[in-house]
Subunit: 133 residues, 4 copies
DNA sequence: TTTT
DNA sequence: TTTT
């Protein structure tokens, strides 16, 4: 049954890709989402009066074509909207310790801001642009 | 049961507000979402090679505090993320014709871009800023 | 940009299908979602103390393969989870009056209950079962 | 910015609650969501022809009133729809090993099926029923 | 590690 | 009516 995640946030690091032995292209990036922190129903503020943010860092995984697109057009600092699903992994590390990790497998990634690099500044509607969003 | 809408798009016109006779503040704005148009599984392009966009115009309704915030900080052209629910209305117009309309009742509105006006450029984290997002 | 709808509710009538002149199969059904009605921040109750429900009736549209599946396995009264997008249509009726309608174009439909008819009672995991959910 | 999760699935174990030293009531349950497993774009089937399911087990956390409601009305095997957000935790266990865990902080929990126990069979619309959904 |  |  449905396992759906929607995240709107900022990319923490430029995406990184690798290819598995079965020739699947896997691309990863991290995404920060933030919300105001509350205490007793009120927004918390720091000593200067600024709202305290609570940031979650999500690990996003893209496969194949979507990964290729993300690799080409997404970079650190950009705002994106990710739709995907949560996936949990359990494995045993070299010391024999059981480890758990969580990732968001992306189905779509939409731009909410534009790349800063010159060579990516063509815009989403450029005829040569292969961005699906 | 659940009736949930998530929209990320651009505001079409500055929000407008009115107060009902029971003293409820109602704020409206329109929001454009777009997606590439497809035909036979392929993205459609115009004669210049640009991807053809299919735009939906949503009518967004906010009540009370959320409406006040939107009225103060949202303006034409800004990108926002709306979470809410769909609501349908049926009424009879002056000519006695049955009319239907659809609106999205917003529960949250998040900024994805910043206002262009000087006086709103303080940033989301300003201590005087009452934006809940 | 994103236009996403999630609806969990009950099917109002058995789905109906037609084929367009370009050979697209279109399947429609109606879906009821409900929520408690509120007044002054409190759940409204009727004279017997039961919570007053506010029901929205959504018009759901499915294309091609998804429509075929829905037609075969969904029926009046079943609970389903629909993921899709909102689409608005404007047209002029025979009297020359401008009409508007709204529909939810489904991308996925998941079962939350089982069909009542004998011939559909095989369960989602039957090897002959072509339900994608 | 937005961090939104929608899960529709089955409860794995009866919910369990505890109260923190600051008097916050915390209720936990596990939720299974499943999807067909794919390989090379096709649904995988086992040797008997049944579709292979990929199940994710989510840890759901509810606070205060929502937790109380869940504790009273949700039980193992029920189908529910959870809306919430992802939260990641990092801590050091007794052996000094860094551990990570992920939980879904629920904002709403909707019933998609009914409890099996006699004493809970009153239905969602019973006047004595405090279920907010 | 991002962003305002 | 927005945006690229």
């Amino acid at each position: 049954m449905q396992n759906l995640v929607i995240l709107a946030g900022n990319i923490g690091q430029d995406p990184e890709s690798r290819t598995t032995i079965n020739n699947t292209r896997i691309t990863h990036f991290t995404l920060a989402t933030s919300r105001p922190r509350y205490a007793e129903g009120k927004v918390l503020r720091d000593k200067d009066g600024y709202r305290v943010q609570e940031t979650e860092w999500h690990r996003i995984t893209c496969f194949n074509g979507l990964g290729k697109t993300v690799e080409q057009h997404c970079q650190k600092g950009m705002k994106v909207l990710v739709r995907g699903r949560i996936h949990y992994t359990k494995w045993t590390d070299r010391e024999g310790i059981e480890r758990y990790s969580t990732e968001i497998i992306a189905e779509t990634v939409d731009f909410l801001s534009w790349p800063k690099r010159e060579d990516d500044s063509r815009g989403a509607n450029d005829p040569d642009d292969e961005i699906p969003f």
